[in-house]
Symmetry: C2
Subunit: 339 residues, 2 copies
Amino acid sequence: MKRWTLEDIGKLAGVSRSTVSRVINDQPHTSPAVRQRVEQVIRETGYQPNSAARSLASSQSRILGLVMPSILQSAFADPYYALIIQAISHACNQHDYTPSLFLFQSADEEAKMSQRLVGSGLIDGLIVTADTIDSQFVQMIQPYDIPFVQIGRPLRESAAFISYVDVDNEAGAYLAASHLIQQGYRRIGQLATLHNTAGHDRDAGFRRALLDRGLPIDESLIALSSFSEASGYQAMETLLHQEPDAVFAQSDAIALGAIRAIRDHDLRVPEDIAVVGFDDMPLAASASPPLTTVRQPIARTGKLAVESLLDIVQTSPQPARHIVLPVELVIRASSGAVS
Amino acid sequence: MKRWTLEDIGKLAGVSRSTVSRVINDQPHTSPAVRQRVEQVIRETGYQPNSAARSLASSQSRILGLVMPSILQSAFADPYYALIIQAISHACNQHDYTPSLFLFQSADEEAKMSQRLVGSGLIDGLIVTADTIDSQFVQMIQPYDIPFVQIGRPLRESAAFISYVDVDNEAGAYLAASHLIQQGYRRIGQLATLHNTAGHDRDAGFRRALLDRGLPIDESLIALSSFSEASGYQAMETLLHQEPDAVFAQSDAIALGAIRAIRDHDLRVPEDIAVVGFDDMPLAASASPPLTTVRQPIARTGKLAVESLLDIVQTSPQPARHIVLPVELVIRASSGAVS
DNA sequence: ATTGTGATTGGGAGCGCTCCCAGTCACTGG
DNA sequence: CCAGTGACTGGGAGCGCTCCCAATCACAAT
């Protein structure tokens, strides 16, 4: 299978390299007749432009980097990442961009790779799921003027200069907690992760809901967890000593772990303890009992991250944009509201 | 931050473009003194070779494609994929390659993208997690002589000409079933997925174990599932009617779903029904009860896939290589062998 | 018929690298 | 002392595209 070049195609179609290029790039100034002939030849030959040559000449690679810094290592198994990766991949496909993956296993690897990442022109832009460590990684890439957007609000004050896409974690947690309060629960616990801004914001929303309804905030009812099922299980076991009548888990994985812990201690959900999660993962609907949770639009998040990034890549520098997507409460059996 | 070129660096170090190139690519025929001076300048300037130019001149992109065809869509949330992606990413980092992700949402997208994928020279090689649909995708890319390896044995007879890395699914299932038999269970069910070769091989191992011990194979004790927790739950509910005393689930996710179903029906694991899974996902150890399962070396699978692929990329055509990794049975409480 | 206008078209000049060959240099052996 | 031998080094010639400008052409206006 021969490797065709623009010149070859031009020769076959009886036109010049330039004209073929115009046809391929959908540029104006080509007569319909010529265009058609060229397209015909391209179809017949199965010609594909060489991407290296394109990149070199245009200094655009049409590759986007998807960066997940080292901290996430353990949490990476959370289906959230699978979904966000899927969404980003799909958006890239649609825009004829290629997503490349950069998972760092250690700070060293992170430092070494990020140099190469931004200096070599390999990628046109970066999507960073940063969380806690944005400080390091983002600061490292700042000097290079490479376009990037974060998924999730950055922790640092530099946030104003950084474009990001996030969901309204605070409002979501507020909804979740309010719902529990409305159901009549009073000793409402929280399984919190303060590792990242999502965790902080959810914590803030939780507290605001309690305050709004005049409930006291009992710190002993807040147990720390990380974003995993196993960790949720452990945190819930601790929390059980405080005898909560309901619990807001900062993610569905945590909630599932909590439910397992509750049941292992011969208590029932929601009769003894109601549970609300966050994320609305596919598993939430089919859990036992079906999980009341805050649905966040993961697919939209990924899509918007790609599209914002492309906007920045394709136009000149522009002010940072901050997108915050709404969330909604999905009420199922685990919070006692439906039988 | 200036974009340096080889020529710039050469000028600064008082040598030619070619010499700098030799230093960067670790080629011989450069005096230590010169080499050192050049390296010094590179360090000071933070020079990074332009990858587009490199690719164009060398016709090597140092990018590897990771392809997950459309069928997997739904199953993608299985932590297996997160782990394999992590392993591949890590191996790529180590070898200075960049992994790019190609997830196809539909057969159309698959067809359209795969053209671009193999024709444009964007990638040096492909890792395909193919399963059922290998027939289509692999056949599509065969004509282009692009190097690729599959993860998981191909279904088709063309298997002999395709390089792959797989785990010994048959032996694993055999171990699992034998273990149950040895524990004294007799009505042993299976939650099977026949979607891919892994499923077929596990089924084969399961049957061989029963035959070897002189147990009858009762088809009504085999329920079909796909690779998800929810699906495992449903399949187990069906299987419950047959009153098995033990069940082999073809994946941990399925096993977890099965356990949930069993408990929802007020039965106990392992007292009423013993459960064995497959994969040894992180969750398996911390499940309730901890899950007896077949551990497969996912990280090694990914690493070997990358390394086999690089072997093919970097050397001339060679016979297809078939790697089958061993698995081991990890005995925990869910099979009744330990309290 | 002549000039002007805008839409098309062709080709030169790179993009920054690798590959290859020819040239340079210091030594060696005859 | 000179050809012969290596180890180095420099620079030409692309890789296959995009970008830009000059050239061409058809057609309308003068």
